[in-house]
Symmetry: C2
Subunit: 99 residues, 2 copies
DNA sequence: AAAGACCGGTCTGTATTGCAGACTACGCTC
DNA sequence: GAGCGTAGTCTGCAATACAGACCGGTCTTT
């Protein structure tokens, strides 16, 4: 019992934040995803989305790929192996702690 | 896909906070629980625990029962039906959104 | 009786952070 | 040149998690 509770209190907060959990979830299932797409799917504001993406990048959970489509900048994100593990571990802990 | 993501972004933040999720989880499985016990299990500081408990009470997710053991005050918590539903719904959404 | 340890609780201060929106920079289109 | 679409930075606001100090009260120990 106590263990389950401690597990809950020990969740990775980088993943736990809904906005970032959403981002990671999309990335985990979609491979590579463009900024614009993510913005539409999550309905986060640009500033906010950028902020969360930067945090995830800093944490090493995703990579940012900058490219051009013609001359238009296109930013894509891809989940890293570390990120995939973090996400998997998050779910694992959560499941283990569930009543 | 989009639906799953929206579900994540729509999680009940009152439940989502790990400390409160822990409290609710204990209460859901233990019925009635004393302050002291909860303090030990969660390792939250008194102030912090009280703060979270008050929020949960305000949200209608738990009841506070004040009593005396002899002349010593004993505070107990019990999850309400609303709280039980909120917790169940939280897990339901989370499961539905999981990859 | 005085000191110190519990009980639960309030209050304050701090540090973090989620979020929106304004502003920038760049190129394209009309 | 005006306006739009890319992405990104920066600022400011509001919320909040958390620790720790303090308090009223009781109980135990000296």
């Amino acid at each position: 019992m106590t263990d389950r509770i401690r597990t809950l209190l020990d969740l990775d907060r980088m993943v736990h934040e809904p906005a970032r959990l959403a981002i990671l979830t999309v990335l985990a299932s979609a491979g590579s995803v463009e900024f614009k797409f993510l913005e539409q799917v999550t309905r986060l504001s640009k500033g906010n989305l950028n902020s969360h993406a930067t945090k995830l990048e800093t944490a090493g959970y995703l990579e940012v790929l900058k490219a051009f489509r013609g001359k238009v900048p296109v930013t894509s994100f891809r989940i890293t192996e570390t990120g995939r593990e973090a996400l998997a571990n998050y779910w694992k802990k959560l499941m283990a702690a569930q009543s």
